[in-house]
C-alpha cells in the first residue's frame, strides 16, 4: 500500500496524481480546484498491487485531524510515504513540523515504510538557483528524517522530472525488479532489438528498459508515455482503447503490444528488413515466460493484502 500524504494545500499533489494516474496532461490541471477533503482513490497497479492514494487537502484543519482522530487509520500498513513540498512555500517551519508529525506516525505504525520527498514546483524557481535550493532542502529533510532515510526528488509538472521521480518510486515498488531486468535483457538480445521498454499498464510509466546502444533522445521515455496516453485519450472518446501498434519507416520498426497482465512492451528494431511477423512471434513467446515470472510472486502479495 502506498500513501500519498499531506503536503501543504496547493502544493500540487492533485495535479501530480492526475497527470500520472488519471491521464490529464499538464495544461488541463490548471482547471483543478484545491482539494477540500481527503480524497481517496485506488489505482490497480502492476496487477496485484493496489496503490492507495490518500490525497489529503493540505489545509490546517485537516492536517490537525490526521494526527489525532485519523492517525492510525491513515498511517497503518504503509509501504511508501510520499510527501510533497511546495518549493515556494512561505511557511517552511510549519511544513517541516507537519512532515515530522507524519514521520512520527509512520515510525509508530509502519516503521518499514520507504520515505520519498518531492520538492515540487521547481519550475517557479530561477534556473541558476535550483541546484542550491534543492540541495539545501534535501540536507534539511535528510537530517529531520533520521532514523528513517528519505529519498528526495525535485519535480515540476512542466518537464520530465516528475515523470522520472514517479518512475523511480514505482521501480522500487516492483517486487522482483532485478530479475525482471535480467530477463528483459536476455529477451532483447535474443530478438536483436535495439531497445526494449516495459510499461506499467495503467499509467504507462516505464518500469524497466534495456538498450544496446546509445539513443539520441534522453527524454524519450516521458515522450513515449505522453504520446501513448494522448492516443489512449483519443480512443476513449470512441469508447475503445488501443491494443497494439506497429510503426516503421526505412530506419526503424517499433512494436507496442500487451505483454503480461500488468505490462505493455515496446520493442525497437533498427533492422527494418526483419519481417514484422518474426518479431511479433518472438514477443508472443516471451509473453508466456514473463507471465510465469509474475505469477511466482503473486501469492506473496495477496498474503500481504489479507493481513491488513
Amino acid at each position: 500500500l502506498c500513501r500519498c500524504t499531506p503536503g501543504d494545500g496547493g502544493s500540487g499533489k492533485t495535479s501530480m496524481r492526475s497527470i500520472i494516474f488519471a491521464n490529464y496532461i499538464a495544461r488541463d490541471t490548471r482547471r483543478l480546484g484545491a482539494t477540500i477533503d481527503v480524497e481517496h482513490s485506488h489505482v490497480r497497479f502492476l496487477g496485484n498491487l493496489v496503490l492507495n492514494l490518500w490525497d489529503c487537502g493540505g489545509q490546517d484543519t485537516f492536517m490537525e485531524n490526521y494526527f489525532t482522530s485519523q492517525r492510525d487509520n491513515i498511517f497503518r500498513n504503509v509501504e511508501v510515504l510520499i510527501y510533497v513540498f511546495d518549493v515556494e512555500s512561505r511557511e517552511l517551519e510549519k511544513d517541516m513540523h507537519y512532515y515530522q508529525s507524519c514521520l512520527e506516525a509512520i515510525l509508530q505504525n509502519s516503521p518499514d515504510a520507504k520515505v520519498f520527498c518531492l520538492v515540487h514546483k521547481m519550475d517557479l524557481v530561477q534556473e541558476d538557483q535550483r541546484d542550491l535550493i534543492f540541495n539545501e532542502r534535501q540536507e534539511d529533510l535528510r537530517r529531520l528524517s533520521r532514523p528513517l532515510s528519505c529519498t528526495c526528488f525535485r519535480t515540476s509538472i512542466w518537464d520530465e522530472t516528475l515523470y522520472k521521480a514517479w518512475s523511480s518510486i514505482v521501480y522500487q515498488l516492483i517486487p522482483n525488479v532485478q530479475q525482471l531486468e535480467t530477463n528483459l535483457r536476455n529477451f532483447a538480445q535474443i530478438i536483436e532489438a535495439d531497445e526494449v521498454l516495459l510499461f506499467e499498464r495503467a499509467t504507462f510509466l516505464v518500469i524497466s528498459h534495456y538498450q544496446c546502444k546509445e539513443q539520441r533522445d534522453a527524454h524519450r521515455f516521458e515522450k513515449i508515455s505522453n504520446i501513448i496516453k494522448q492516443f489512449k485519450l483519443s480512443c476513449s472518446k470512441l469508447a475503445a482503447s488501443f491494443q497494439s501498434m506497429e510503426v516503421r519507416n526505412s530506419n526503424f520498426a517499433a512494436f507496442i503490444d500487451v505483454f503480461t497482465s500488468n505490462t505493455y512492451v515496446m520493442v525497437i528494431m533498427s533492422d527494418p528488413s526483419i519481417p514484422s511477423a518474426a518479431t511479433l512471434i518472438n514477443i508472443r513467446n516471451a509473453r508466456k515466460h514473463f507471465e510465469k515470472l509474475e505469477r511466482v510472486d503473486g501469492p506473496k502479495h495477496s498474503l500481504h493484502m489479507r493481513m491488513r
Binding site: E222, Q230, R248, N249, S250, F252
Partner: protein, 391 residues
C-alpha cells in the same frame, strides 16, 4: 520573412514550438513528382487568408501548416505585413497562404488588386464569431466584390471562426445570420452570382482541419480521379473508409464516397500524430524529418477496428479504417494498395506534364485524361478482388 513570436516557457522538450521540421520530404528528389522547379512562386495558385485584425488568421495558418499547438498561438504577435507562406516544399498543398494583416486598407491606391487576385484559387475570409461581426461583414463584402471584379473564378470561403466558445444553438444561429446578411449585401449590389461557402471553425478541435480539407479539395483538378481510385481500392480490399492525407497538415485531400464520420477523421489525425512523433524519436532521417517511402503503421483497437497507414507520395499517405477480419487478408490489401499507389503517381505525373506544357494537355494523353472511367479500365482488371477470393 517569418513572424516573430516568443518561445513559451516550457522546459519540457515535448511541447517545443516548431520542433517539427518544415520539410518532411526525403533527401533526394523523386522523379515525376518534382513539380516545383519550373513554376515560380508567383505563378502558383494561391489561397488568400483575410479578415479583420485579431480574427485568428495567423493562428489558423500556424496550427494547420506548422504543427503549432493551439495553446501556443496565444503568444503570436500581430501580423504587420503581408506574410507569404510558401508551403510547396513541405506539404502537398503547393498553394501560398497570404496572411494579410487585419489593418490592410484596400482603398489605398498602392494596393495592387490585379496582381494579388489574379491567380488566386481561393479566398478565405475569417470572421470572429465571438465578437460583433457587423464590421467584419462589411469588410467581407468589400473584399469579395473587389476580388470578384478582378477574377470571377475565385472560390470564396467564409470561416466563422472561434466557435469553440459557443453553444450548438448559438453556432447554428450565427451561421444562419451571417449567411443571410452576407448574401443580402451581395444581392443589393447585383452580385447574386457570387457564391459564398460557410464553415464553422475553431483551432481547438478538428473543425479547422475539416474546413481546410474542403477548401483544398475544391481546388484540386484531380479530385474526382482520386476519389474514384479510392473507391475501387476500398471496395476490393474490404476496407470501410480511406482518407488520402497530407501528412504535414493533416488535411485530407480525397476520400472515398462513403459518408465522412468526424470521429473517424479525428482518430486518423491522432494516428498520424502518433506515427510522426514516434518516428521522430526513433527513426529520424538526416534533415530531422520522420516520414519516408517506407513509412507504415498499423494500430489495432480493442473493438476489432484496425487503422492502417501507408505512404503514397512524399507528402501524402492513405489511412484506412477496417475490421480485423478484413485485415487478415493483408497480402491482398497490400497488392491492391500497390496498384492504387501506382495509379496515384500516374495521375500526378499527368498534372506535372500539363503544367510544364503551359497548361495545354499533352496530346498523347488526351485519351486517358478525358474521362476518369477510361483511366481505370486497365487498373480495374488488375485489382485482386476481395469478394472474388471468398472461400
Amino acid at each position: 520573412m517569418s513572424i516573430q513570436y516568443g518561445e513559451p516557457d516550457m522546459a519540457g522538450s515535448y511541447g517545443v514550438v516548431d520542433s517539427f521540421p518544415k520539410d518532411f520530404g526525403y533527401g533526394g528528389d523523386e522523379a515525376g513528382i518534382d513539380d516545383d522547379s519550373s513554376a515560380s512562386a508567383d505563378t502558383q495558385p494561391r489561397i488568400l487568408l483575410m479578415g479583420l485584425r485579431r480574427s485568428g488568421k495567423s493562428s489558423i495558418q500556424k496550427v494547420v501548416f506548422h504543427k503549432m499547438s493551439p495553446n501556443e498561438t496565444l503568444f503570436l504577435e500581430s501580423t504587420n505585413k503581408i506574410h507569404k507562406d510558401d508551403l510547396s516544399g513541405s506539404s502537398f498543398v503547393n498553394f501560398q497562404i497570404w496572411d494579410f494583416p487585419g489593418q490592410v486598407d484596400f482603398f489605398d491606391p498602392t494596393f495592387d488588386d490585379e496582381m494579388i487576385f489574379t491567380g488566386t484559387g481561393a479566398l478565405i475570409f475569417v470572421i470572429d464569431a465571438q465578437d460583433d461581426y457587423v464590421e467584419a461583414l462589411g469588410r467581407l463584402h468589400g473584399t469579395v466584390s473587389r476580388a470578384y471584379r478582378v477574377n470571377p473564378h475565385i472560390n470564396f470561403e467564409v470561416f466563422i471562426h472561434k466557435v469553440d466558445g459557443l453553444s450548438d444553438d448559438h453556432k447554428i444561429e450565427t451561421q444562419r445570420d451571417v449567411y443571410q446578411r452576407a448574401n443580402d449585401d451581395l444581392a443589393d449590389v447585383g452580385l447574386e452570382k457570387l457564391h459564398l461557402s460557410f464553415y464553422l471553425t475553431s483551432i481547438y478541435d478538428h473543425s479547422i482541419f475539416e474546413a481546410f480539407s474542403k477548401v483544398v479539395q475544391k481546388l484540386l483538378p484531380q479530385l474526382p480521379t482520386l476519389e474514384n481510385l479510392l473507391n475501387i481500392f476500398i471496395s476490393h480490399s474490404g476496407i470501410e473508409k480511406a482518407f488520402l492525407f497530407d501528412m504535414v497538415s493533416k488535411i485530407y485531400i480525397a476520400t472515398d464516397s462513403s459518408a465522412v464520420d468526424m470521429q473517424s477523421y479525428e482518430l486518423c489525425c491522432d494516428m498520424i500524430d502518433v506515427v510522426i512523433d514516434i518516428s521522430c524519436i526513433y527513426g529520424p532521417i538526416e534533415d530531422g524529418g520522420a516520414y519516408d517511402k517506407e513509412s507504415l503503421a498499423i494500430i489495432k483497437l480493442n473493438n476489432t477496428t484496425v487503422l492502417y497507414l501507408k505512404e503514397v507520395t512524399r507528402f501524402l499517405a492513405v489511412v484506412c479504417v477496417l475490421r480485423e477480419e478484413s485485415f487478415e487478408r493483408k497480402g491482398l490489401i497490400d497488392y491492391n494498395f500497390h496498384c492504387f499507389r501506382k495509379a496515384v503517381h500516374e495521375v500526378f505525373e499527368v498534372g506535372c506534364r500539363t503544367q510544364r506544357n503551359g497548361g495545354r494537355p499533352d496530346d498523347s494523353l488526351t485519351s486517358s485524361t478525358s474521362t476518369s472511367s477510361s483511366t481505370h479500365a486497365p487498373n480495374h482488371r488488375n485489382y485482386a478482388s476481395h469478394n472474388g477470393s471468398m472461400m
